[in-house]
């Protein structure tokens, strides 16, 4: 933690022209970074400096900048979303760093998340997993049953919500030594498995989503628990266990 108002830092950032280009870590120096800035605002500042020097700015993904859209990523100093827990990179503030620090910034590394440019990766594998079964097959109509017709135990509703809080950022994959996506898939499977509305298709859902997950080239879970620690939304490992259970059940019946 830094108490100074402004700090000077060194950055080592992955630069890669395009999907098939060879990349490398490049070194940058940035002065007068306000410790009240977010990490992404610091990158904005660096880009402004690069543009003024007529150099190509660094491409990175970001959008809402309040920790909910899941667009920002970045592996900072060896950790997904940087050296803090329960946050996304856009919520990481520069007061977490000290004057003179060297900060490593890398893209998510996974076979299923190929680099598009610099720090930007393609996470559409997550979309395809969702498309394989992450839904309840109900069409739009003005006359589904009344929302209160089926009571849902509060504990189930709360757990379902906690699983549904996943923002699909991919930190779980990035941080997992195996590049496994099971926390993401487990959370989706759990959200629906816990609700009566989702139970109808539960077996098919888990089989389809796991199949898609495997096809995308994610690694296997070895229960290191790193994903749970680095998940900005604190999604619990319980969800992976629930997926395991659901899959077992679906496979045996």
């Amino acid at each position: 933690m830094s108490t100074a108002k402004n700090i000077n830092i060194n950055l080592k950032i992955w630069r890669q022209k395009g999907p098939n280009a060879k990349g490398s870590m490049e070194t940058y120096k940035l002065d007068n970074v306000s410790t009240a800035s977010s990490f992404l605002e610091m990158l904005d500042q660096l880009n402004e400096q690069l543009i003024n020097e007529r150099k190509e700015p660094i491409a990175f993904d970001h959008d809402c900048r309040e920790g909910i859209c899941g667009m920002c990523s970045l592996y900072i100093n060896g950790r997904a979303h940087g050296p803090d827990t329960g946050i996304t990179t856009c919520q990481l503030h520069m007061r977490m760093f000290k004057d003179g620090d060297t900060i490593y910034v890398e893209p998510w590394r996974s076979k299923a998340f190929p680099v598009i440019k610099d720090l930007v990766v393609d996470r559409s594998a997550f979309d395809r997993i969702q498309q394989a079964g992450g839904f309840v097959s109900v069409n739009t109509s003005g006359n589904t049953i009344d929302a209160n017709a089926t009571p849902v135990p509060k504990a189930d509703a709360d757990k379902s919500f906690e699983a549904a809080a996943c923002i699909g950022c991919g930190a779980c994959v990035a941080t997992c030594k195996n590049g496994s996506a099971m926390l993401f898939v487990g959370a989706k499977v759990s959200q629906y498995a816990l609700l009566p509305q989702g139970k109808v298709e539960a077996a098919q859902r888990v089989l389809n989503m796991v199949r898609q997950m495997d096809e995308e080239g994610f690694g296997n879970c070895t229960n290191t628990g790193a994903c749970e620690i680095e998940c900005p939304k604190g999604i619990s490992l319980e969800n992976i266990a629930r997926m395991n259970r659901e899959y077992l059940k679906a496979s045996l019946t």
């Binding site: 076979k111 496994s180 879970c221 229960n223 490992l237 077992l248």
Partner: protein, 278 residues
């Protein structure tokens, strides 16, 4: 309907890993119970009786085949998982700080497992293969004072004794490693116990290498301890058994199991090398 990929999906691999792992934990308990007899003074005969039972009882045989299969499956599955997991991240990180989010053992199961596999192989060469195949496997003998003269006897499975002298004088010959034959009649008269106790003690008390063997064994047990430290509770998670009420207990149990089992295993050679009088 999606087809279940129960044998090849990523989740199925986890199940097999967990099931074989847990089965091997059971095996460890059984093995440990047997080994602990080595700590009981003057217990060589009982130990060898136990060894005979373990190698001949049909039920135990089934279990041991299951154990071999489990070990092989566990290892192959582990290797496959490791290969796939490595492939899932073709480009690594320039800087990584995994200790911030996961225990060391959980990240090194493959390395730990490989060391254990090497240990198992050497261990089997040292003891299991001798027990099963060594033509020069010694048989259990006992020294009994006869008229002030210590005389050695073979202990036979029917609870009787055969004077070693008779074998030395070729009146009785040993066939098939354990069978005593009347040399003249060429008839099997009795059966002896393979002296596993003796070779175990001799192994760890070997004048030249005994200390090294003991140390290596202890190291192997530490490695196994770390493997179990993660593996035990991890197996439950893989099988979908995670519950806020019970998981903490399973984790504590797993830690206790890992520490206790490896500690007790390790105590035995240390005792034999440093404390047991030959």
């Amino acid at each position: 309907m999606a087809k279940s990929a129960f044998l090849k999906s990523s989740l199925a691999k986890k199940y097999w890993m967990a099931l074989t792992g847990l089965f091997l934990c059971l095996f460890l308990m059984g093995h440990l119970a047997g080994n602990l007899q080595l700590l009981v003074p003057n217990n060589a005969l009982n130990f060898n009786k136990y060894a005979l039972f373990m190698t001949t009882n049909p039920a135990v045989k089934i279990l041991s085949y299951l154990t071999y299969i489990s070990i092989i499956f566990h290892a192959i599955d582990g290797i496959m998982l490791t290969i796939q997991n490595k492939a899932a991240r073709p480009v690594g990180y320039a800087k990584s700080n995994p200790s911030a989010n996961s225990p060391w053992a959980s990240r090194n199961m493959a390395v730990l497992g490989t060391i254990i596999l090497v240990f198992i192989v050497t261990h089997m060469v040292q003891f299991w293969s001798r027990m099963h195949f060594d033509q020069n496997m010694p048989l259990q003998t006992i020294a009994i004072n006869m008229q002030g003269m210590p005389q050695e006897f073979y202990v036979t499975t029917d609870g009787g004794y055969l004077p070693k002298m008779q074998v030395d004088q070729k009146m009785i010959i040993i066939k098939d490693r354990t069978d005593f034959y009347d040399a003249a009649a060429n008839v099997k008269i009795k059966e002896g116990y393979k002296d596993l106790y003796k070779i175990t003690v001799a192994f760890f008390q070997d004048a030249k290498y005994g200390l090294i063997y003991t140390l290596l064994y202890v190291v192997a047990m530490i490695v196994m301890g770390f493997h179990l430290l993660h593996g035990f509770s991890s197996a439950f998670q893989s099988l979908g058994l995670n519950h806020s009420k019970y998981t903490p207990a399973i984790k504590t149990l797993g830690k206790g199991f890992a520490i206790l089992v490896s500690l007790l295993f390790a105590v035995i050679p240390v005792y034999i090398h440093f404390f047991l009088k030959a």
